[in-house]
């Protein structure tokens, strides 16, 4: 990529395929005119065509000026924009309108959807209750998975007979579809057909109903979720444990350092990054929990989560705009949490350097 051989950039009004400035100008003018003059179905695709034209001129420009790095990531960026960023912005736009996907009318309402979601006398308390439940599930499921995953990893870091086969068995739940796991657990907990009730009856003589109160229903869901996802945490932590150099432990052994101290001074610093990664992934996933709730309780007994609520609003009841508003409130919360987390994680890694 020798910059000396590149052709000089075209002047603003030269109509060449690589003149991206001109393409943006034309694109903007045509798009605005199309939106004003043409019916929505046509103007939508006109704007799309203009966006494609601008993108094409960027590509030609990059090709002529040997920006191969840019060209190589272009397909990925195109997919990201079409599949991800565009729908995201589109739904952000929808959240400011009164729109239902099964009706043909649309009306601008500003922040009314957000006000409805956050402050309406009938809806807001429900949304807050669902959000509180979600927070409860996040804390409980992630804590359980981190502890279980961590303990499993410590176990599998050592060599013992049948380790390989046990490891595969432990990893299986993670590979199952959530629906299969959900159906399995709904039978597992069933008072008449279930194994759980069967075992408890041996001692109590009574059929055992786990899911008829909030504590039981939550415990049931948390256990099922932990059963599926602890192996994921284990996998990440195990990768960290394996990467700790043996000589550090040997040195520690020579110094007669206690096992506890070895863990905090040698093991933990190595796996901290991966542990944090597992925590981040699981927190985001737990925040979106709906599948297990639908399969196990249908949201009954105080297990309604905000995601399931959103599915009902946006999918079943077709209240697209209200659904979009809830989604954006959720997205906002997730972004704040994630940034907070990244901030804390970064600060911790920086601190030792100052000492």
């Amino acid at each position: 990529m020798n910059p000396i051989t590149t052709a000089p950039p075209p002047t603003l009004f030269t109509p060449t395929p690589d003149n991206w400035k001109l393409a943006i100008m034309i694109g903007l003018i045509v798009a605005v005119l199309a939106m004003i003059l043409l019916p929505p179905a046509v103007s939508f695709w006109s704007v799309g065509a203009m966006a494609a034209m601008v993108a094409a001129s960027f590509v030609v420009n990059a090709y002529r000026r040997y920006y191969y790095g840019g060209l190589l990531v272009a397909p990925a960026i195109a997919v990201l924009v079409v599949m991800n960023i565009f729908p995201l912005l589109w739904s952000l736009g929808l959240s400011f309108f009164a729109y239902q996907s099964n009706q043909q009318t649309i009306r601008f309402v500003g922040l009314a959807n957000y006000i409805k979601v956050l402050a309406d006398e009938l809806k807001a308390p429900e949304n807050w209750a669902n959000l509180t439940n979600t927070a409860m599930f996040v804390v409980l499921t992630v804590t359980t998975q981190m502890i279980m995953g961590f303990l499993l990893a410590l176990m599998f870091a050592k060599q013992f007979p049948l380790r390989k086969y046990l490891l595969i068995l432990v990893l299986t739940p993670m590979m199952l579809s959530v629906v299969a796991a959900g159906v399995f657990f709904s039978y597992y907990y069933d008072p008449t057909f279930g194994l759980l009730s069967y075992f408890i009856r041996i001692f109590s003589g009574q059929q055992f109903i786990l899911m008829d109160n909030k504590a039981g229903a939550v415990a049931g869901i948390v256990f099922a979720d932990a059963w599926m996802w602890s192996p994921f945490v284990m996998l990440l932590v195990l990768a960290g444990l394996v990467s700790v150099p043996k000589y550090l432990y040997e040195a520690a052994a020579i110094d007669r350092v206690s096992g506890w101290r070895q863990f905090w001074s040698i093991t933990f610093p190595y796996i901290r990054g991966l542990l944090m990664l597992a925590l981040l992934f699981r927190t985001i996933e737990a925040f979106k929990m709906a599948d297990l709730v639908i399969l196990l309780t249908k949201g009954g007994n105080g297990t309604m989560t905000i995601s399931y609520h959103l599915i009902r609003i946006a999918n079943e009841q077709n209240k697209t705009s209200e659904g979009a508003a809830i989604s954006y409130v959720m997205l906002f919360i997730v972004i704040v949490l994630t940034n907070l987390y990244l901030y804390i994680a970064n600060r911790r890694t920086v601190e030792p350097a100052h000492e």
Binding site: S101, N102, Q103, Q104, L122, S186, D190, P191, T192, F193, Q207, I209, L210, M211, D212, N213, A217, T297, K298, G299, G300, N301, R312, N315, E316, Q317, N318
Partner: protein, 477 residues
């Protein structure tokens, strides 16, 4: 250009045009028409597809194929809803729950069929021959007005499924008589006359612990008296609550009385509260899963087939599996009757219950050719012979000359209860806000069923929500 080449050119052009015309005429006389249809995946639709493939000969001479998407029940609404609202215009016909009519008609997806009925004498005759309650429930929007949208695919209603081996056992008969001074029902006719008091006695009487005697043998597992749907999903408690409220003389919000009929005062009337409490009083005689709020139509059916319950009230649509020894431990021990009712002052039993089943509809984007073929298919489907054959394979029919045919009752053991129970059916709302109303009341009923809230507070919340929503939607003043 010489004269010869001109002539040659003309001749070629003429020949070409002729070929086109002939080809066009050919294709017009025998077109390939594909009817795309969305249906739930279960026996009533599988049988229909099978009969279509084997027997249907279109009168138009076209080659008609029925391309059916079999969608599992739990996903059915979501998938149909997504297809319709996304604008992909994939389906020409769809099976729809009657309650969805309003939402999808207002959205502009379901086609009004009055013109098709008026233009076709045979179709009109078929529609006129249908039970009026079924026609109103499956076809009309606004509810019970002469604006038609659907044809019955599988009409359905609630019946009692009972264990003959247990109910007809001499010891049980004797003990029941001694305890309640009533005859324990054993035949279908006796089950037709079960009222809720007797139903409660049956529930209490057949609660047996593992090892206690049941019909002359020690029970191999805990055994329960009764079951019916009281689940949180879809409409699995609404169906039961509506049935109890209607039988007690109360009512749900009645859309045919809008805009002056209110939800407040109606939905939470004293009669309705009493009816809900009455319904809740039976949960203690059900398998314990009812207390978790997940006793839906599939669960109660499964428990019954596994031989854990004496008497189950469920849709006929799920009945086939209970007769099949491969899926049912009780296949050879069954007796069926009308669903339980409420005995009035005159001694007659009120059997009013929530109607089930589904119509199928045409969509608005169909071309004339498609509509013509669809109507041809519907006429064939609703004709007597085809409906008889469908019934003989396990379907049900709402067409009078079919279900009054003496042979009809011989097809399935529950058919004897069909005609009499059909007169007692009632439907819930068809309005577009149906799903919101349903979801909210399902949530509230679940709180009552799992014992977190009393009946009064539950119905007050339901009424308040409905009043508010219906006012905002402009449906009531």
């Amino acid at each position: 250009m010489t004269a010869i080449t001109k002539i040659q050119g003309l001749a070629t052009a003429a020949g070409f045009a002729l070929a086109l015309a002939v080809g066009g005429a050919n294709s017009a006389s025998a077109e390939d028409v594909v009817l795309h249809m969305a249906v739930p995946d279960w026996p009533p639709t599988r049988i229909m597809k099978d009969m279509f493939d084997k027997e249907y000969k279109p009168t138009s001479g076209n080659k008609v194929t029925l391309d059916v998407d079999f969608i599992p029940w739990p996903d059915f609404y979501t998938r149909v809803n997504a297809s319709l609202t996304s604008g992909e215009k994939k389906y020409n016909m769809a099976v729809s729950d009657s309650q969805w009519l309003g939402a999808f008609i207002e959205g502009g997806y379901f086609r009004k069929i009055n013109d098709l009925i008026d233009a076709d004498k045979e179709l009109k005759k078929a529609m006129d021959g249908m039970h009026p309650i079924v026609l109103n429930a499956y076809s009309t929007y606004p509810n019970s007005t002469p604006n038609y949208y659907g044809f019955p695919q599988f009409p359905d209603l609630l019946v009692s499924y009972a264990r003959k081996d247990i109910f007809c056992n001499d010891d049980e008969q004797k003990n029941f008589k001694a305890k309640y001074n009533k005859k324990l029902p054993c035949t279908g006719e006796e089950f037709d006359n079960v009222d809720w008091d007797l139903f409660g006695n049956i529930g209490e009487f057949f609660m047996r612990k593992k090892g206690e005697m049941l019909a002359g043998k020690p029970a191999d597992d805990d055994f329960y008296g009764v079951a019916f749907q009281v689940g949180k999903g879809y409409d699995f408690s609404t169906t039961s609550v509506h049935t109890f409220v209607w039988q007690a003389g109360g009512d749900i919000w009645d859309e045919t009385k809008a805009p002056n009929g209110h939800a407040m005062g109606q939905v939470n009337s004293d009669v309705a509260v009493k009816a809900l409490n009455h319904m809740l009083s039976f949960i203690k005689y059900m398998p314990p899963v009812a207390k978790t709020g997940t006793m839906d139509i599939f669960k109660s059916d499964e428990l019954f087939r596994a031989g854990k319950v004496a008497l189950n009230v469920d849709w006929i649509g799920l009945g086939e599996a209970s007769l099949d020894p491969k899926s049912s431990k009780v296949a050879d021990k069954l007796v069926f009757g009308m669903g339980p009712g409420t005995k009035g002052a005159d001694g007659k039993i009120n059997h009013t219950s929530q109607i089930g089943g589904q119509p199928f509809v045409l969509t608005t984007w169909n071309t004339d050719v498609i509509n013509k073929e669809a109507v041809g298919f519907v006429k064939w489907w609703l004709s007597k012979d085809v409906q008889m054959e469908y019934a003989s394979k396990g379907g049900q029919s709402a067409i009078k000359e079919v279900y009054t045919d003496p042979k009809y009752n011989t097809f399935r053991p529950w058919n004897r209860a069909w005609a009499s129970q059909l007169d007692w059916q009632k439907d819930m709302w068809h309005i577009p806000q149906f799903f919101e109303i349903l979801t909210q009341q399902q949530d509230q009923y679940d709180l009552a069923i799992t014992g977190k809230q009393d009946a009064k507070a539950t119905l007050d919340n339901v009424a308040k929500f409905q009043e508010d929503l219906l006012k905002n939607a402009g449906l009531i003043k």
